[in-house]
Structure formats: C-alpha cells, structure tokens
Symmetry: C2
Subunit: 217 residues, 2 copies
C-alpha cells in the first residue's frame, strides 16, 4: 500500500539515468511517443531487466504491458528524480586549460547548477571573466564564498595543490567537491567527493588495448 520509494538508488543506477534521458529525448525528437524497456535495452546495449528496474524506480506511474511508457512522462519523472530543477551554485578553482574548458561549457544549467565564480593564482587571469564568470584571486576564496555560499566546488588545480584547496573549501562550508585533480582528497565524511579519474579511464583503455594487441599476434 505504502509507496515503496524507501529503497534508495545506487550509484550505478544514478549514473545511467542521464544516459536514458539523453536517449529518450533523441527518440522524442523524431516523433516517437511511447517507449518500452526492451527497445531501450537494445538501443543502449543494456540488460532488459536492468532497464525495467531503472524505469520502475523513477517512474511515478506503472507502465502498461505491451505498449510501454509515455516518453515525455518518463523524461519528466527522470528530471524530477534527478532534481535538476533545483539549482545549486558552484565555484571553480584552477583556471588552467581544463578549468577554462569547464567554464566554457554552458550546459551545466541543464544539470542543476551554475558556476558563479572561479579562482586562480595567475595575476594575468585575476579580474578577467570567462564567459561572464569572474575570476578572483585564490586568496579571496573565503571572502567571495562567504557572499555566494556555494554548495559545490570544482577542483581543477594541479594534484599538488588539491588537498590544500580542498581543506580551505571545507572550512569555507562547501558541501560537495567535484575533483578533477589526480589526487586522493582527505575530507570529513560529511563532505561529498566525486572523483573524475581520467587517469583511471586511461589505464583501463590502455590496458585493454595492449591485451587486444597481444591477442592478435
């Protein structure tokens, strides 16, 4: 009787949702109105049961056997589940090439947050703007943050500086860190850390490639 929205979502499931959203939007764009789990499973190379469960978890209503679900409704439910509509502020620390690339990326709005300030130590950058986002002196981190009270910090500084920056961010009341530096951050358990481990991805791709090359000969 009681809605069993008690069971929480796993990290894996959560990570699949944006892929679904993207694919469903593509289907809707070509005029398709209904979608079934087997169809999506085929398209995205996933197990059918996996897709069924993911859909069931986020959808507010049950699907109808044989005809599936309404695409628009499913997309809306996914957006609701992901709460992209409730925006959070973010700051970015380290305006190197990767930091700049992220500042240029104008799609964060779609994912529920927007970058309000960036920081660097390079005096050539401080005071300028990238796509409308002001770049402050890293020394002023605490001051600027006390005004904005951002929830999320994006770390794109060199690995060596990452821990120092993280520590400062935490005392400045950041709740979540999106870490692009190839370094392990020591933080209190209440802080949310998401590591973007490019080095790990590279290790995986490189190893699989070597394996393949060995298999060939």
């Amino acid at each position: 009787m009681a809605k069993k929205r008690i069971l929480s979502i796993s990290k894996n499931q959560l990570g699949r949702l944006p892929n679904y959203v993207h694919h469903l939007q593509a289907l809707r764009a070509v005029g398709i109105e209904k979608v079934t789990a087997p169809q999506v499973a085929r398209d995205l190379n996933l197990n059918v049961e996996l897709v069924k469960k993911d859909f069931a978890l986020v959808a507010k209503r049950q699907g109808t056997p044989r005809s599936g679900r309404d695409i628009s409704e499913l997309i809306t439910d996914m957006y609701d589940f992901l709460e992209y509509s409730q925006h959070d502020k973010a700051i970015l620390i380290g305006v190197g090439s990767l930091g700049k690339a992220l500042l240029h990326y104008r799609g964060f709005d779609d994912y529920g947050f927007n970058i309000v300030a960036a920081f660097d130590v390079d005096s050539a950058l401080i005071g300028s703007k990238v796509d409308g986002i002001p770049i402050y002196n890293l020394d002023d981190l605490e001051k600027v943050q006390s005004e904005h009270r951002s929830q999320i910090a994006i770390i794109t500084v060199p690995a060596k500086e990452a821990q120092k920056v993280a520590t400062r961010l935490i005392s400045a009341n950041i709740a979540a860190i999106w870490n692009f530096a190839p370094a392990h951050l020591k933080v209190p358990s209440r802080i949310i850390v998401q590591d973007e481990n490019m080095a790990s991805s590279l290790a995986i791709i490189s190893h699989r490639l070597k394996e393949k090359q060995r298999a060939k000969k």
Copy 2:
C-alpha cells in the same frame, strides 16, 4: 607451481592502479622506501584486503611479512603491468574547449600514448597547431589516419556528431575510442570504448547533495 598470472584484472582494480602509483610516488618523494598494505589502505581510504590483493596481483615478488614491500619496486611493477612504456598513437576529433584542454594536457606521455593529430570542421582552426599538434580538416580524417595508423581516438565533438565520427573512425581502423560526447556509441564488439560520462558524475554528485540537504532540515 605455474605462475597464476592467468587470473585477469577487473576494471575496478585497473582503475585503482593509477591512484596507487600516484600515492606511492608521493611517499617515495619524501624519502620513504618501504610500504605496507595497511598503510596505503589508511592513506587512500580503502579496505586492507583490497589493497593486499591489488598489490599481490601486480607485484612480481612476494612482500615480506611485517616490513611490507619496496616502494620503487612496486611502482616499477605497476608500470610494467600497465605497460605505459609501450606507446600508442592517438588522434583527437573536435577541437572545442574540451578538445583544446586535452590537447594542452602534456601528461599523456606518462600514460602510454601521445596525440599525433587533431581534427575539426572550423576553418579558423584547420591548419593551425595546438601545442605542436596539427589540426586537420575533418574531411581529411581517412587520409591522415592512413599515414599515422593511430590506435586510439578521442571523441570531443558534440553528441549529435559522435556516432557519425565513430563510424568513420572504425572504418579507418581505430582500435579504441575514448568518448567524451554524452552519447551512446554503437560499435562492433571488437572496438574498445571508454565512456567519460561527466553527466553521470554530475547526476551522482547533484543527487547526493540534494539528499544531504533534505536530511539536514
């Protein structure tokens, strides 16, 4: 009797190796010569048994109870395992802000490959160089690739173009694709695809943050 290097490594294990390498190098840099699994587990917030097994998998020799392993030897073993020394060529398609950031990143050498060419459709970019890497017209992809015979392609084009580019890359004999476009690529099973899913990471971080905010009030 026979070395049981038969058991292959999992994706998760592989992904942890670069983190170990980085941490071990940091320890060595401050003059430490020996390392134990419990120590590393504490430092990197991992389970001890996990670290023990990871080390055992890549190390050529057994560790010595109580004193651990020689750091330099362990690092060498990890490099050997990851085969970073055997370089592969890579090309990059899509010189937008993210593509540029990756071209600027000079650390790929350390990970076993180097970018030899980039492609775009923007005539303002074509013919120029970024950090010494020439940018070609995307139309010339097949021609340039037939000379270089690169193994890896990095896709940093918009989602809409990703599949088209991937298909062309495959017929041009690319073995592995590192995909930064938020799109699912349909490829033959022999092709290695590594998705860099920033949208997934964002979904995870954003959801956890919302959860936390709900818990607080």
